[in-house]
């Protein structure tokens, strides 16, 4: 499967209640592509499609990738497969890791808030921050029992970098209190369930743009766009075009033309369907593209178009 990265499961272990930690390597132990802390992996789940999981190993370990996955009661198939079907020695296919939740290199203090299994991207950031000598703290909110990925958190907790908040045995902490006021050099991050992200967004609403970053597990529902209009979508590579109805998915329109565009979340949070646009006026509705990249790229799953014609490279 040359269009994918082929990986072998070399270890599988429990890493907290309902959480399975999988270590993946190239079949020959070859070095894997370099990843940025906060990156995620799209694994091809047989019969289901790609599913995104944050990498939680140290990015400096270049011959292995580690993910930790919670078994979801309402699994769409991904976590059930990872928990029940995959065994050490099995092969899996992944797309190139993408980072839609990057560290802010220039920040002098990093405050991270994780809800449950949302701790995973921070586990890849922690060793990078520590080696760089940065000031950082990770608050992990969990509901009773051992925390998710407790063995990975323990050394950082011993250093005082990680603070565990068991919300069954103590009142749920106020996110604004954990974050404190905005000050120069601070960067805040949050990964957790939707209610926590809403609280984080509210607590940082007055912060400068980009100073508070969020990673979503699932795409938030996008409200219908009352101003959506039809447009002509053109593939630069072939010159083919198709009429896209008002509010229709650009990704679906591209596929009608036979374009082979990857996708995963189909809700504007994972980055899988990023394509380059060349002419027209796209309306960006994703949550991951930086402003500068929007000048040349769009997320086909959620983007609309304000002009009558849009030319894309796909």
């Amino acid at each position: 499967m040359p269009r994918h990265i082929t990986l072998r499961v070399v270890a599988a272990a429990e890493a907290g209640p309902g959480i399975r930690r999988l270590t993946l390597q190239d079949p020959d132990g070859w070095r894997l592509p370099r990843v940025r802390p906060g990156a995620h992996l799209d694994l091809q789940v047989p019969g289901v499609g790609p599913r995104a999981y944050s990498l939680c190993g140290d990015p400096a370990e270049e011959d292995r990738w580690v993910i930790a996955v919670r078994r979801e009661a309402t699994s769409r198939g991904g976590s059930a497969w990872l928990h029940e079907a995959l065994r050490p020695g099995d092969m899996v296919a992944s797309a190139m890791p993408r980072c839609t939740f990057p560290l802010e290199e220039a920040a002098t203090h990093h405050v991270m808030i994780a809800g449950g299994i949302g701790v995973t991207p921070f586990l890849s950031m922690a060793p990078m921050l520590e080696r760089a000598g940065r000031s950082w703290v990770l608050h992990v909110l969990h509901r009773g029992g051992p925390p998710p990925c407790g063995d990975d958190l323990a050394p950082w907790a011993a250093l005082g970098r990680v603070v565990l908040h068991d919300t069954l045995s103590a009142p749920r902490p106020d996110l604004a209190t954990l974050l404190g006021p905005h000050r120069a050099g601070i960067q805040a991050y949050c990964c957790g369930p939707p209610a926590m992200l809403e609280g984080f967004a509210a607590a940082t609403i007055a912060w400068p743009a980009g100073a508070a970053r969020m990673e979503h597990f699932v795409p938030p529902a996008l409200p219908p766009d009352p101003d959506a209009r039809p447009y002509l979508l053109v593939r630069a590579a072939t010159g083919e075009s198709v009429e896209v109805a008002a509010g229709e998915s650009m990704l679906a329109a591209l596929r009608r033309m036979g374009a082979n565009v990857d996708s995963s979340c189909e809700g504007g949070i994972c980055g899988a369907c990023e394509i380059r646009w060349l002419e027209g006026e796209p309306i960006h509705r994703d949550l991951v593209l930086p402003a500068a990249r929007r000048a040349t790229h769009l997320m086909a799953c959620v983007a609309h178009c304000a002009s009558a014609r849009l030319v894309v490279e796909a």
Binding site: P2, R3, H4, I5, T6, D26, D28, W30, R31, L32, P33, R34, R36, E62, M96, R276, E313
Partner: protein, 161 residues
């Protein structure tokens, strides 16, 4: 038929990777197999594991890239592209690759025939996470088929046949 002006080059770096997406790794020597490719590389015919292996190409058994092109990209675009990042197998010095399409030349003991210029691809941008497509246009290296195999080492001479 026009011929290239006199030149005399050498092998500056050697890199292979067994599968698509994986980093290229430097080698002191590589084994070229006539009519097939490089032992351990993703585009060896019969083994294909490369990103473009779905588009079989007989003339892609070994690929070359100029060290001078890396220096030009640094000069013109301020982009530091390393020998393991251009994803060709042999980084050359002193070899006018763009002149050699259709010609035969020796790399160490091996005889190759240049089939076409390499073209840059967006795939490399996906791997590197950097915009290197435009800087690589017109200086993206050379694809060759292997006529006589053997072992190529760093420092070996590259010379017209």
């Amino acid at each position: 038929m026009p011929t290239a002006p006199g030149w005399n080059g050498l092998v500056a770096h050697l890199h292979i990777t067994p599968r698509a997406f994986l980093p290229m790794q430097g080698q002191e020597s590589i084994a070229l197999v006539a009519g097939e490719g490089i032992v351990g590389d993703r585009y060896r015919i019969g083994v294909e594991q490369g990103f473009y292996s779905e588009k079989p190409e007989e003339g892609r058994q070994v690929t070359l890239f100029e060290a001078e092109a890396l220096e030009a990209i640094r000069r013109d675009y301020k982009i530091e592209l390393l020998p393991e990042e251009h994803r060709r197998n042999i980084t050359t010095r002193g070899v006018p690759l763009n002149w050699l399409v259709g010609q035969r030349f020796r790399i160490g003991p091996c005889l190759v025939e240049a089939t076409r210029l390499s073209i840059p691809c967006r795939h490399i941008e996906e791997i590197l996470g950097r915009e290197v497509f435009n800087p690589m246009v017109h200086r993206s290296g050379l694809n060759c088929r292997i006529l006589e195999g053997g072992t190529v080492r760093v420092g070996d001479a590259i010379r017209p046949e």
